[in-house]
């Protein structure tokens, strides 16, 4: 099966600070990738470049066999959806109105069609936010907001989901639920790439773990075999240790 996403030798700097030196990765549909790294490693920047928000100084991105720049913005947004770390919606949209915005790339109609509404409802039910669909987004807690934003991404029905810390503000139960939803989404043939700082959630839900360090993808590990070589853990902290649960799943703890 050919790659849905291919990123080759991306370079970008903010002023004199080189953020990505030569980032390279490729992924197929059906995969769920965790993008991990220390603060400032360039994880969000990498997602922003793939989503088309930032233009790299060098390198290439291929999406579904075509150069990213050859897709127009609407075509790109039908294929790639992006969940930002946070939005600052000051205007009083309801939760449902925000999720409905995910359907924007798919229609020119003034109002959402019945088909759009079925996508909206399904996405909100999957992320457990349908019951407060009429509530003002500003009145929601951080966790409730995050579920609404995730629903908006799902309603977009793109083949690539880029998620910048999707479990921020969520309690443990909801974090697990969020990653379970994304894993299910990947099983339907989507490619999910999630930035996260929770290594155990990444190891237990994702198919691969990409470790970003020194401006490159320093490690690209199948999650199930992450404990075979713990070099990548040293990039985070010397206090981290990795082993296996009784079920054989890699598990990290600190000393």
């Amino acid at each position: 099966m050919s790659h849905l996403l291919e990123v080759a030798n991306l370079q970008i700097s903010y002023g004199s600070r080189i953020v990505l030196r030569s980032a390279t990765l490729s992924a197929r549909s059906g995969e769920f990738l965790a993008l991990v790294g220390v603060n400032g490693a360039g994880k969000s920047t990498l997602l922003d470049i793939i989503a088309g928000f930032l233009k790299p100084a060098a390198g290439s991105i291929t999406i579904a066999g075509r150069d990213q720049r050859s897709w127009n913005l609407r075509e790109l947004s039908q294929r790639v959806s992006h969940l930002p770390q946070a939005v600052h919606a000051d205007l009083p949209y309801t939760a449902e109105q925000l999720v409905a915005m995910g359907r924007y790339p798919h229609t020119d109609r003034w109002f959402e069609s019945d088909e759009d509404h079925s996508f909206i409802r399904e996405a909100m039910e999957r992320t457990h936010c349908w019951e407060y669909r009429h509530r003002n987004f500003r009145s929601l807690s951080g966790g409730e907001r995050q579920r609404v934003l995730l629903a908006a991404c799902l309603a977009q029905n793109a083949s690539i989901l880029l998620l910048d810390e999707p479990s921020t503000f969520l309690d443990i139960e909801q974090q697990l639920h969020c990653f379970t939803v994304l894993r299910e989404e990947a099983k339907t043939g989507k490619l999910c790439i999630a930035v996260t700082h929770d290594l155990n959630v990444a190891l237990t839900h994702c198919s691969r773990v990409l470790v970003l360090a020194d401006g490159i993808v320093a490690h690209d590990l199948p999650a199930a075999k992450a404990q075979e070589n713990d070099d990548w853990l040293r990039l985070f902290s010397s206090r981290l240790r990795i082993g296996s649960t009784s079920a054989g799943t890699p598990w990290i703890w600190y000393q």
């Binding site: 947004s77 205007l91 949209y93 995910g102 003034w110 109002f111 019945d114 500003r138």
Partner: protein, 335 residues
């Protein structure tokens, strides 16, 4: 009924009240004023009732409807672009620039330039000067930061206010009075030609702005939020700033800087009808026009034969309302 049909019908129902307010204002308010007007005399085209109604009251009511609509629409537009419910054309300094331009020509004593009212040209030049200054400073950058724009607007407001004070000081007594009255903002009778030009410009731009309502919805959440859903953000922002600036400059060239309408009407419509720009923008235009026309009519009848400028009436009504509305907000809705 499908959900699509249900939503369309709901939007039509939402627009019914603002549309009725707009039409009722256009029909009824010209009859309101210091002196009564005889319907019989108007129907028989008898002086002076016919002239008072058609040449004075109808023109100023229509001007209030168009200018109020333009200023309210521009307010809602800037609030979406800057993601700030308190943003107005004042915030960016566009109103201040237009005022400086108009005050400059009043101070210079120019009435007409090339057959066009000089305050029009002054206000347009001032507004575009500010837009060029604000947006020109961001040329070459991929994105225009709302925060940077707001800070630039504060600086421009301060500079324009200082220059207006200086011009007023050198303008002489009678022109200083004209400047002071113009700065309060009022709706005076105007020629049908001026009204027609303003109406065409405002209606074309209003149609352009409202046609992009879905994109403003997305932009009001965030630049990246909009871009990742297929909106060409830099192009949309350019369209918004240019359209908003022309709407503001065109309106206040004839009325003076009436600012409150651009703040209070979007706030009212957003909280009482819908924050969705597909409904919000047309409602804001219709309600804004109706509100300014009502304020102008009130100004005509409160202290006859003296007239209170519409801008002053609006500030007296709008200020307390806004304070009340802000106090009604729950802590979770605070910015």
């Amino acid at each position: 009924m499908t959900l699509y049909e249900h939503n369309t019908a709901a939007a039509r129902r939402s627009l019914l009240l603002p549309a009725c307010a707009f039409v009722a204002s256009a029909i009824l308010l010209p009859w309101v004023g210091a002196g009564p007007i005889s319907v019989a005399k108007v129907l028989h085209r008898q002086s002076p009732d016919f002239e008072i109604l058609i040449q004075l009251r109808v023109t100023r009511t229509l001007l209030a409807l168009v200018a109020g609509g333009a200023l309210s629409l521009a307010g809602a537009l800037f609030q979406a672009m800057l993601r700030d419910a308190l943003a107005t054309p004042y915030t960016l300094g566009i109103s201040a620039g237009a005022s400086l331009g108009a005050v400059s020509v009043i101070a210079a004593g120019w009435q007409m330039l090339w057959g066009i009212p000089a305050t029009w040209l002054g206000a347009l030049a001032g507004a575009f000067g500010v837009v060029a200054l604000v947006l020109g400073g961001f040329t070459g950058r991929r994105q225009i930061s709302a925060f940077s724009l707001l800070l630039t607007g504060i600086a421009i407001n301060s500079v324009c206010a200082a220059l207006i004070i200086i011009l007023g000081g050198f303008a002489g007594m009678s022109r200083t009075f004209s400047i002071a009255r113009w700065l309060i903002g009022s709706v005076d009778s105007t020629s049908f030609t001026s009204l027609a030009v303003l109406s065409v410009v405002v209606l074309v731009l209003a149609a352009l702005v409202i046609s992009q309502a879905r994109s403003w919805n997305l932009l009001a959440v965030g630049d990246q939020w909009a871009a990742s859903r297929g909106v060409r953000v830099p192009a949309l922002l350019r369209t918004g700033y240019l359209s908003g600036s022309i709407l503001v400059a065109g309106a206040i060239a004839l009325t003076g800087p009436i600012g409150f309408v651009g703040l209070i009407v979007p706030h009212l419509v957003r909280s009482r009808i819908s924050p969705d720009h597909r409904v919000l923008l047309p409602s804001v235009f219709l309600f804004g026009g109706a509100l300014l026309a009502v304020c102008d009519a009130l100004g005509r009848i409160v202290l006859p034969p003296a007239e209170i400028p519409a801008g002053a009436v609006l500030a007296l009504i709008g200020g307390p309302y806004l304070v009340w509305a802000i106090r009604q907000r729950r802590p979770s809705e605070e910015m």
